[in-house]
């Protein structure tokens, strides 16, 4: 459709650099390793979630259950560490197994029962949020010495910025996702599935396995995001991370991935996350703007990037097929 599928990615990168330069121009103190380190730490759980979301959206699906999965993971960890003497690492393993199985079940329903992903993951969202309520309706604090150890790991950069473990985990997930998407057969299958199910089937892509794996990946990454979130807040609360799925989808769209599937890059999602984090940082620095401006600005950004993609698509296709243009759905 577009001459270079990487163009939206470059646009997102350029927007981030430009926005950051504007921020520095207004508040010179924003140019510090502290701001960068906090940007990574504060958005670590969102970034990890958005990677899973990118995979799902690349295949043309959607996963609305991730926010609830994060909340469930947090509550599960908090309750299990409070009531039993299980080591956190074992608990991490258990919760990842649960979330991966949950995601795989969603994928299986989507594929075998042929129900729209939107509705299946919506039911999954209710189910996971409900299970979190069943475990505990209160905010449960986590006070395990292993958590203190994990939280105290950081690399202090010149300028006072502390690059914490969870920011590093996010970067590793992004790098891992890039390798999987562009260097493995599974990654090729993801793009093929997004290009069209029937075409992919004719090409010999294992549709069932890929679909189930995709949703299992999204569920597992949401579980990992939940672990990161519990490290970030040191608590589990069933009402936390409501609406994170929307933030993740917004980051993916700002990153240049088409919601119809088949086109997009994980790196774009990374810069989408950074742009959204930058808006919040700017509002904190400004001090006079109210929090609702975050939502409005993200909405405006979404609109701008969607329009940008439309303009790019139009500029590259309109001239090529003038004879059938009147019947094309652009």
């Amino acid at each position: 459709m577009m001459k270079s599928p990487r163009l939206p990615l470059y646009m997102t990168m350029a927007t981030f650099v430009l926005a950051y330069m504007l921020c520095i121009w207004e508040f010179p103190s924003m140019f510090s390793s502290r701001v960068v380190a906090n940007l990574l730490t504060d958005n670590a759980f969102l970034g990890i979630t958005a990677v899973g979301m990118t995979f799902v959206i690349l295949t043309g699906g959607i996963d609305l259950s991730v926010g609830s999965v994060i909340a469930f993971t947090g509550v599960f960890l908090a309750v299990i560490l409070r009531d039993t003497s299980i080591h956190p690492l074992v608990a991490f393993g258990m919760v990842l197994a649960i979330t991966i199985a949950f995601g795989a079940a969603e994928g299986a329903i989507v594929h075998y029962l042929e129900m729209p992903a939107f509705i299946v993951t919506l039911a999954g969202m209710f189910l996971m949020r409900g299970l979190a309520y069943v475990l505990s309706t209160d905010s449960v604090p986590i006070t395990h010495e292993f958590y203190d150890v994990l939280q105290s790991i950081y690399w202090k950069a010149p300028g006072g910025g502390r690059f914490r473990l969870i920011g590093g985990v996010m970067l590793l997930v992004f790098i891992g996702a890039m390798i999987v998407l562009h260097r493995t057969k599974f990654g090729k299958n993801v793009y093929a599935l997004g290009g069209g199910v029937q075409t992919a089937q004719l090409m010999g892509v294992p549709i069932a396995r890929t679909t189930i794996l995709i949703y299992a990946t999204s569920g597992g990454l949401a579980g990992l995001a939940g672990i990161v979130y519990s490290l970030y807040t040191s608590a589990g609360y069933s009402l936390s991370t409501v609406g994170v799925e929307l933030d993740a989808i917004a980051a993916v769209v700002i990153g240049g991935t088409l919601l119809s599937g088949g086109t997009g890059f994980v790196a774009g999602t990374f810069f989408g996350i950074l742009i959204m984090g930058l808006i919040q940082t700017y509002i904190v620095f400004d001090g006079t703007l109210s929090s609702w401006w975050t939502k409005i600005v993200i909405g405006v950004l979404l609109f701008t990037f969607i329009m940008l993609q439309k303009v790019l698509a139009w500029a590259t296709t309109a001239r090529r097929k003038p004879a059938t243009e009147f019947a094309m759905r652009s």
Binding site: P116, A123, F126, G130, V253
Partner: protein
């Protein structure tokens, strides 16, 4: 015509009947209705009354989904409309002016979505995502982040009042749903909307002005959402831009899907969607009346929804169709027949 409609909504009627039976089992007094202080009280009345916002949203959402679209912004539009109505009424405008302003705001939101979808050709899910994210911020901008309360009796009447003993919201959704059904089914509009959902390019080539129709459909959804927003705000005598209509878009879409309408567009039935909204509300009522701990509400709701969707899923419908085909011939099931092709592929 009448028999066709009845056959179309039969699954929804059966599910609603089962859920209401469940209500009756957990709470034998479910059907009792009392007349006190000039209004009717009873669980049935409550289901009809509390189901109003989702029913209103589902009416518009059915049309949008019939065109192969989706409107994620209805919850945010509800918040905006409530905020506009509250700010007009607190500024001294009458309740009628407030209602008009709220409806105008809803129409403005609808035209924004419609133009993005119809003119700029943005995928509906993305186009309405913009307003879904930004809308709540706009609502908070109008109320300045506060919960704006009001005491205007006229406006409150729309959400909490009664007419001839029945709560006003019941009249609002029944009239709105009836009116739109009448308009789309007594004219060719309904069929034209279905044709856009099935194949937009070919319907445009056949001479249908799909742009105008698409914008109109999103306008109707915006209008319905604004009405729902006013009802919700009037019910609590205040506009809460943060929580009004939160996740209501999901309930509305669910109502449409439970109503047996395909998310891929095409044939639709508003009556079935309204029954879907009532099913959701009856499920909520079962959970409340059964006296289960409130923590279990969402889990039970999720499980019930999964069961309902499982029964209606193309694969299961196809199995039923095959089962029927092996026994003496019957009228083929519509859902099963429509998704025959895809179901066969996966089964083979």
């Amino acid at each position: 015509m009448m028999g066709g409609t009845l056959r179309r909504i039969a699954p929804q009627l059966i599910i609603l009947g089962v859920v209401i039976l469940l209500n009756f089992i957990v709470f034998p007094g479910f059907f009792s209705i009392e007349f006190q202080n000039g209004r009717l009280f009873g669980n049935i009345i409550d289901v009809l009354n509390r189901g109003a916002p989702v029913a209103l949203l589902a009416t518009g959402m059915t049309l949008v989904i019939a065109t192969k679209g989706i409107d994620l912004s209805v919850g945010a539009v509800m918040a905006i409309a409530g905020a506009v109505a509250a700010s007009v009424v607190t500024a001294g405008g009458g309740w009628f002016l407030a209602l008009l302003a709220a409806l105008a705001a809803g129409l403005a939101c609808g035209s924004w979505n419609g133009i993005l979808v119809a003119v700029f050709r943005v995928q509906p899910i993305v186009a309405t995502l913009v307003l879904m994210v930004a809308g709540r911020g706009i609502g908070q901008l109008i109320t300045e982040g506060k919960i704006m309360t009001f005491n205007d009796p006229g406006l409150i009447h729309l959400g909490a009042g009664t007419i001839l003993g029945l709560p006003t919201p019941v009249y609002i959704w029944v009239i709105m749903g009836g009116l739109i059904t009448y308009v789309v089914r007594r004219t060719a509009l309904g069929m034209l909307i279905e044709s856009i959902g099935i194949n937009e390019t070919s319907s445009r080539l056949a001479g249908i002005n799909s742009r105008v129709l698409l914008v109109a459909v999103y306008l109707v959804t915006g209008f319905c959402a604004a009405l729902a927003g006013v009802v919700v705000a009037a019910d609590i005598k205040g506009a809460d831009a943060n929580n009004a209509g939160l996740w209501m878009e999901l309930d509305a879409i669910l109502a449409v899907v439970i109503g047996g309408n395909s998310l891929l567009g095409g044939r639709f039935s508003i009556i079935a969607s309204l029954l879907g909204a009532l099913i959701i509300q009856s499920v909520n009522s079962v959970i409340l009346l059964s006296g289960m701990p409130p923590e279990f509400n969402l889990v039970i709701k999720a499980l019930l929804i999964i069961v309902i969707l499982f029964i209606q899923s193309p694969a299961v419908q196809h199995a039923i169709y095959l089962f029927r085909a092996s026994t003496p011939p019957h009228a083929p099931n519509e859902n099963g027949a429509k998704n025959n092709q895809t179901a066969k592929e996966s089964l083979s």
